[in-house]
C-alpha cells in the first residue's frame, strides 16, 4: 500500500526521481562541448523526391505557436476554437477536459506527441488540461481524414481523427536560448515555466519545466444563490528533457517526460443539505514516460522509422470521508504501465508510386487495489499496408489496417477466479484523393473506416463494465475545398468541408457523481451530417496588421439506435447543432490586441430531449493585449536580441455564467497576466 503519508514525501520523491532522470543525460552531454552554430540541414528529407513528401490530405486546422503571441496557455483553449471540435470541460484549472471531433467521441480521437500516441487504456480519455503550450510544442494540427505522410506509425492510421502536437526545433543562432514565462492571476493561479535549449554540433538538448498552482475558487450561481467553487485547487509540476540529433541520412529523438499533480474534484452542483460539502475528493497522479524515434534513409528509395515508448502512470484517488460525511469511503490506487514499439518502412517504388508498411506492437497493464479487480493485460498488434501516388496536382492514397487485441483478465467462476482470454480484431480501410485544379483551389475527399477498442473501464470496471463489448466502429466520408487568394496587402483563405459519419455499436461513457467513475451506455448507432466552414482574412499596411478568422460548424448528430424508441432521431448528448468562433486581431508595431469569441449552441445532456436536460447556449468573449519589447543587451555581438513580452487577458468579458457539462459551472469574468522573456 502506497497510500499512507502520501502528499509531502510523495512530492519529494517525485522531484528526486525526476531530477536524477533528467540531470544525468544533461551532464553526459555537456562533455561534448559546443560547436559553431548555424549547421542546419535537412538530410533526411533531401533523399526522396520532394513531391513524395507532399501530404494527400491537409490538416483541417493547423496553428503555429511561435507566430501566435496571444496564444492561450491551455491546449484546450486552442482546440475548442477548431471547426468540428467539441471540448468537454468540467471547469476550472484542474477540471477534466476532453476533445471530441465531428461527434465521433473522444475515444476515436488520437492525440499524438511527436507522432507517438498519448494514451490511456483505462478509459481512453486524454485530459487536455495536462497538456501545456509551453512545453516546446510548436505546431498543433487537427486531421479529420487520414494523415498520409511517409513513415507513419500504424496507430496514426488506426485512429478516427487525430490531433498532432509537434515540437519544433528552435532557431538557435547563438547555440543556446530559452524562455522564462510567468503566468498568473485569477483563482490564485501561479504558473511559471522555463524552456532552455542548447545545441552542440549534431545534438540538440531541450529542457522544459513548468509548475502550476491554483486554488480553483470562483463564484458561480447555485440555484437561487451564489456560491464559491470549493475543492477545485491543483498543484502540478512537469519536467521534460528532449534530446535530438542528426545522423548521416537520419535523425533521432528521445524525450523523457515527468508529470505529477495533486488536485481536488469540486463535484457536480446538486442539492445538498447545509453543512455537508459538495465534495472532498482528491486525486494525486504521476506520469512518467520515455519515448523516442530513429528515422533512417537507407538508400534513396528505402527508409525506416523505429519508435518506442515506455510509460508508467499512477493515480491515487481518495474521497476523504473524514472531511465529507456524504462521501462514499473510497481510497484507491491505480497503476498503468505500457510498452510500445513501432517500425515503419517506406519504399519509393518508381516515379510517383510509394508503398509503406507500418507495424506496431503495444502492451498495456492495469493494476489496482479496488475490490474484485480483474487486473487486465492487453497486447495489441496493428499492421498497415499503405500506398501513395503523388503528382504535383493530383495525389491518391489508400491503406488497409488490421488491428488485433488480445486481453487477459480474471473472471469469477464457480469455485474461484480464473484467467480468461479475449480476442478482438478489426479491419480498417481508407482511401483519399487530392486534386488541385487551380492555383487558388485545392480539393480532397476521403472515406475511412476505423474502430476503437473498448477500454479497460468499458470492459472490466466492476459492476459497470461489460466484458461482452465489441469494438466501436466509425465510418467517415468527407470532402474539403480549400480556397486561397494571397496578396501583398491582403490575403484570404477559405475552407468548406462537408462530411457524413456513422458511428456503430457506440459505447458512451457518461460521468457519474465523480469524474472518476463512469456509467456505460451502449447507444448503438449515431448518424452525423455536418459541415465545417472557415474564413481567414489578413490585412497588412505599414506597421499595421489585422486579422479576422471566422469558423462555423454545423453538426447534425442523431441517434439511430432503436427504431421506435423515445430517443430515435434525437441529437446526441453534448453536441450542438451550431457552433462557431471569431478571432479578431489588430497589431501595430509591438502591440497586439486580440478579441476572440466562441459560441456553442444549445445542447442536451441526455438523449431524451426534456427541458431538464437542456444545456443553454453560451457565448464567450476574451480580450487580450500584448506588448513586446526588444531588450538592449550589454554585449553587442549577440546574434539574437532578447525579447520581453507582457500580456494581459480578460476571459469571459461578458461575465456569462455557463456550463459546458451540465452540473459543472464555469468561471465568470477573470483576468490572467503573463510575462515572458525569451533569449
Amino acid at each position: 500500500m502506497v497510500g499512507n503519508g502520501w502528499s509531502l514525501p510523495w512530492t519529494f520523491r517525485c522531484v528526486l526521481v525526476l531530477s536524477i532522470f533528467h540531470i544525468l543525460p544533461c551532464l553526459l552531454l555537456s562533455v561534448s562541448g559546443p560547436l559553431p552554430a548555424g549547421q542546419t540541414d535537412t538530410l533526411a528529407a533531401a533523399m526522396v523526391s520532394s513531391v513524395q513528401l507532399l501530404p494527400v490530405v491537409k490538416p483541417a486546422e493547423e496553428v503555429s505557436l511561435p507566430d501566435w503571441k496571444a496564444a492561450p496557455a491551455q491546449m484546450a483553449d486552442i482546440l475548442r476554437r477548431f471547426t468540428g471540435v467539441q471540448v468537454k470541460d468540467y471547469g476550472g484549472v484542474g477540471g477534466l477536459k476532453t476533445v471530441n471531433v465531428r461527434s465521433l467521441g473522444s475515444e476515436h480521437v488520437g492525440i499524438f506527441l511527436d507522432g507517438i500516441q498519448i494514451e490511456n487504456a483505462q478509459n481512453m480519455q486524454v485530459d487536455l488540461g495536462r497538456l501545456s503550450t509551453s512545453g516546446g510544442i510548436g505546431r498543433i494540427a487537427l486531421y479529420n481524414g487520414q494523415k498520409t505522410r511517409r513513415l507513419q506509425t500504424a496507430k496514426e492510421y488506426a485512429s478516427g481523427a487525430a490531433v498532432y502536437l509537434d515540437s519544433v526545433e528552435p532557431t538557435l543562432p547563438d547555440g543556446s536560448g530559452g524562455e522564462v514565462r510567468i503566468r498568473g492571476g485569477a483563482f490564485g493561479t501561479f504558473n511559471p515555466s522555463l524552456q532552455w535549449n542548447r545545441r552542440w554540433d549534431r545534438v540538440l538538448l531541450q529542457v522544459s519545466a513548468e509548475g502550476l498552482a491554483s486554488n480553483g475558487r470562483y463564484k458561480y450561481p447555485c440555484f437561487d444563490t451564489t456560491l464559491v467553487r470549493e475543492n477545485g485547487d491543483i498543484r502540478s509540476a512537469r519536467l521534460e528533457t528532449m534530446l535530438s540529433g542528426r545522423l548521416r541520412q537520419g535523425e533521432w529523438k528521445v524525450r523523457l517526460y515527468g508529470y505529477g499533480s495533486e488536485r481536488g474534484f469540486p463535484g457536480p452542483v446538486i442539492r445538498r443539505a447545509a453543512g455537508f460539502p459538495f465534495s472532498a475528493e482528491r486525486q494525486a497522479d504521476r506520469d512518467l514516460f520515455v519515448q523516442g524515434g530513429w528515422n533512417q534513409e537507407w538508400t534513396g528509395r528505402y527508409a525506416t522509422a523505429l519508435r518506442f515508448k515506455l510509460a508508467n502512470s499512477y493515480i491515487h484517488y481518495d474521497t476523504h470521508p473524514e472531511k465529507n460525511p456524504m462521501a462514499l469511503p473510497y481510497n484507491l490506487h491505480y497503476r498503468q504501465r505500457s510498452a510500445y514499439l513501432s517500425l515503419a518502412q517506406s519504399l519509393a517504388v518508381s516515379g510517383p508510386w510509394s508503398v509503406d508498411l507500418s507495424t506496431d506492437w503495444q502492451r498495456n497493464a492495469l493494476d489496482s487495489d479496488v475490490g474484485q479487480f480483474v487486473t487486465p493485460r492487453r497486447s495489441v498488434f496493428t499492421g498497415v499496408l499503405a500506398t501513395r501516388l503523388s503528382w504535383e496536382r493530383l495525389r491518391l492514397a489508400g491503406h488497409l489496417a488490421w488491428l488485433g487485441a488480445w486481453d487477459r483478465y480474471d473472471s469469477p467462476s464457480a469455485g474461484g477466479w480464473s484467467r480468461e482470454n479475449a480476442f478482438r480484431r478489426a479491419w480498417m480501410p481508407s482511401v483519399s484523393l487530392y486534386y488541385a485544379p487551380f492555383q487558388w483551389l485545392e480539393a480532397d475527399v476521403f472515406v475511412k473506416r476505423s474502430f476503437r477498442m473498448p477500454s479497460f473501464n468499458d470492459l472490466y470496471y466492476s459492476l459497470m463494465g461489460n466484458a461482452a463489448l465489441v469494438p466501436e466502429s466509425a465510418l467517415q466520408a468527407g470532402a474539403d475545398f480549400h480556397f486561397r487568394f494571397p496578396g501583398r496587402t491582403w490575403s484570404w483563405e477559405g475552407r468548406v468541408s462537408p462530411y457524413r459519419n456513422r458511428v456503430d455499436k457506440k459505447i458512451v461513457a457518461i460521468p457519474t457523481a465523480s469524474q472518476f467513475r463512469w456509467t456505460m451506455l451502449n447507444i448503438g448507432r449515431v448518424d452525423v451530417a455536418g459541415v465545417d466552414v472557415k474564413s481567414d482574412l489578413e490585412l497588412r499596411r505599414g506597421d499595421w496588421k489585422a486579422g479576422a478568422l471566422f469558423r462555423y460548424s454545423y453538426q447534425n448528430a442523431v441517434d439511430h439506435s432503436a427504431p421506435g424508441s423515445q430517443t430515435w432521431g434525437n441529437q446526441i448528448p453534448y453536441i450542438p447543432l451550431h457552433s462557431g468562433s471569431a478571432d479578431l486581431s489588430v497589431a501595430w508595431k509591438t502591440w497586439t490586441l486580440a478579441w476572440d469569441w466562441v459560441y456553442t449552441g444549445g445542447r442536451w445532456s441526455r438523449m431524451a430531449h426534456t427541458p431538464d436536460y437542456y444545456v443553454a447556449p453560451w457565448l464567450l468573449c476574451d480580450l487580450s493585449l500584448h506588448k513586446k519589447t526588444l531588450m538592449p543587451t550589454r554585449s553587442g555581438h549577440r546574434v539574437k536580441t532578447p525579447e520581453l513580452d507582457v500580456g494581459i487577458t480578460c476571459y469571459n468579458l461578458l461575465d456569462q455564467s455557463y456550463q459546458v457539462v451540465q452540473g459543472y459551472p464555469m468561471p465568470g469574468i477573470h483576468l490572467m497576466l503573463s510575462v515572458s522573456y525569451a533569449w
Partner: protein, 388 residues
C-alpha cells in the same frame, strides 16, 4: 337520559350528514394534469400512488410523480410544480419514499436530505439533514432512516460550528432517529456496513446491512451479511444475525415474520428471499432465489426475478412469485426490460417501474391478468412507490 343520548346521536348524525354535504375543498395539486390512464378495478378511487424517480447520481434529477386515482391523471415532476421556489428541485438520487399519516417522506440519498411533504398536495413541510440516507421506516413516534454515514459516524459539529472527526477508519453505517413531532434528528446508532432496508415490528427495528462499498475496499473486500436488530425502547442494537451477503430490502408481514432480500454477490451467490421468525431470528430460512425487485402488500411479499441475472449480455425475461407465511406461490405475471421498482395495489394489479437504459426517462407500467394494461413515461429510474 335516553332522550339526551338519542338527541346527541341525532346531532352527531346530522353533523356527519352535514359534513358529507360540505363542498369538497380541492387539494392544491388538483390543477396538475397529466396523461390519463385507465384505473378501473384499482382498489380505491381516492388518493394517489406516488412514484419516486431516483435520477442519476450527480445529475440532481430525482423527481416525484403521482397517479391520481380519482381521474387516472399521471402527473410528472410534482415536487417542482408544487414547490416552485425550491430552485434545486427534489435533489440527487431519490432512494426511498413512504407515506406516514398525511405526510409523504422522501429519502434523497446524495443530497443528504430526508424531505417531508404534505401527502395531500406535495408542498414541503421540512427538509432534514441526514448524511447519505438510504431507506426509511416508522413506528408511532419516530421515523428511522438507515445511513451509510461514513465518517459522520464518529464525528460531529462542535459548538463553534466546525466539523471534527475522531475516527474515520470505520465506514460502518448508522440508523438515525427523527422525531415525528419535532421533525428533528434526536439520535443515531451504529449498525453494520452500508445498511439498506429497514422495517419495524413490535418494538424492534430490523436493518439489512449490505456492505456494498466495503466489498470493494481493502483489506477484507467482503460484503456484509447481517441483519442488525435494534430495540426501539433503548435505541441500542440488541442482536445481530447472519443471513446472506449483500442484503437489500426488509419487510415485516405484521404476523411475526421478517423478510429480507439479498442482491447476491453478482457471480456465485444469487439474489434471493430469506425469512426470519421474530421469536428466533438467529435461524433465517431461505425461501427462494432470483429477486430483482420486490414489494409488500398486506402480509404477502411479491418478487420479480430472473435466473439469467448474472449474464450481462442476455435479454432477460422475468418471472414473479409471492410468499405468504413462508409459502411460495407463482404469480401469473411476466415482465421484460429492466424492472426497477414494484408496487402491488391489489392481488392482480401490479405497477412496475422500468429503468430502461438507467439514463433517459423510464416507464411505469400497469399489469393485470398477466397482461400489460398501460405504460407511461416517468422520470429517470422509477424505483419506489408509496400509496396515499
Amino acid at each position: 337520559m335516553r332522550k339526551a343520548t338519542l338527541l346527541l346521536l341525532c346531532g352527531a348524525l346530522a353533523l356527519w350528514a352535514c359534513r358529507k354535504e360540505d363542498p369538497v375543498i380541492p387539494s392544491r395539486d388538483a390543477g396538475l394534469t397529466g396523461e390519463t390512464l385507465d384505473v378501473a378495478g384499482f382498489p380505491s378511487s381516492e388518493g394517489k400512488v406516488f412514484v419516486l424517480n431516483e435520477g442519476g447520481m450527480g445529475s440532481n434529477n430525482a423527481t416525484l410523480d403521482f397517479l391520481r386515482l380519482s381521474d387516472g391523471a399521471y402527473v410528472t415532476g410534482a415536487f417542482r410544480k408544487m414547490n416552485p421556489d425550491a430552485g434545486a428541485g427534489l435533489g440527487d438520487v431519490g432512494n426511498d419514499i413512504a407515506v406516514n399519516g398525511d405526510r409523504v417522506w422522501i429519502v434523497v440519498n446524495n443530497s443528504g436530505i430526508v424531505e417531508v411533504l404534505s401527502a395531500e398536495d406535495e408542498t414541503e413541510v421540512a427538509a432534514i439533514a441526514v448524511p447519505t440516507p438510504r431507506r426509511i421506516a416508522f413506528d408511532g413516534e419516530y421515523a428511522y432512516v438507515t445511513s451509510w454515514a461514513g465518517a459522520y459516524a464518529t464525528g460531529g459539529y462542535g459548538p463553534d460550528g466546525s466539523y471534527s472527526v475522531t475516527d474515520y477508519d470505520n465506514p460502518k453505517g448508522r440508523v438515525f432517529r427523527i422525531s415525528l413531532r419535532t421533525l428533528e434528528v434526536d439520535g443515531s446508532v451504529e449498525v453494520g456496513y452500508q445498511p439498506e432496508g429497514i422495517a419495524c415490528h413490535d418494538g424492534k427495528l430490523y436493518v439489512a446491512n449490505s456492505g456494498g462499498i466495503s466489498s470493494q475496499l481493502p483489506p477484507a473486500y467482503s460484503y456484509d451479511n447481517t441483519v442488525s436488530i435494534i430495540d426501539t425502547r433503548t435505541f441500542q442494537v440488541s442482536g445481530t444475525v447472519a443471513v446472506q451477503v449483500n442484503l437489500k430490502d426488509v419487510y415485516s408481514d405484521g404476523e411475526g415474520h421478517i423478510y429480507v432480500t439479498t442482491l447476491g454477490n453478482f457471480w456465485d451467490v444469487h439474489s434471493g428471499l430469506y425469512m426470519l421468525d421474530v421469536s428466533h431470528p438467529e435461524s433465517p430460512r431461505h425461501i427462494g432465489d432470483y429477486v430483482s425487485v420486490s414489494a409488500l402488500r398486506g402480509n404477502t411479499v411479491y418478487c420479480i426475478g430472473t435466473d439469467t441475472e448474472f449474464d450481462w449480455s442476455a435479454v432477460h425475461s422475468y418471472t414473479a412469485w409471492s410468499c405468504k407465511g413462508g409459502t411460495v406461490t407463482p404469480v401469473p405475471l411476466s415482465v421484460s426490460g429492466t424492472p426497477y421498482g414494484l408496487a402491488v395495489l391489489d392481488e392482480d394489479i401490479f405497477l412496475v417501474g422500468d429503468a430502461g437504459d438507467y439514463f433517459n426517462p423510464g416507464t411505469v407500467s400497469c399489469y393485470s391478468k398477466g397482461e400489460r394494461r398501460w405504460s407511461v413515461t416517468a422520470g429517470v429510474c422509477p424505483g419506489h412507490f408509496a400509496v396515499y
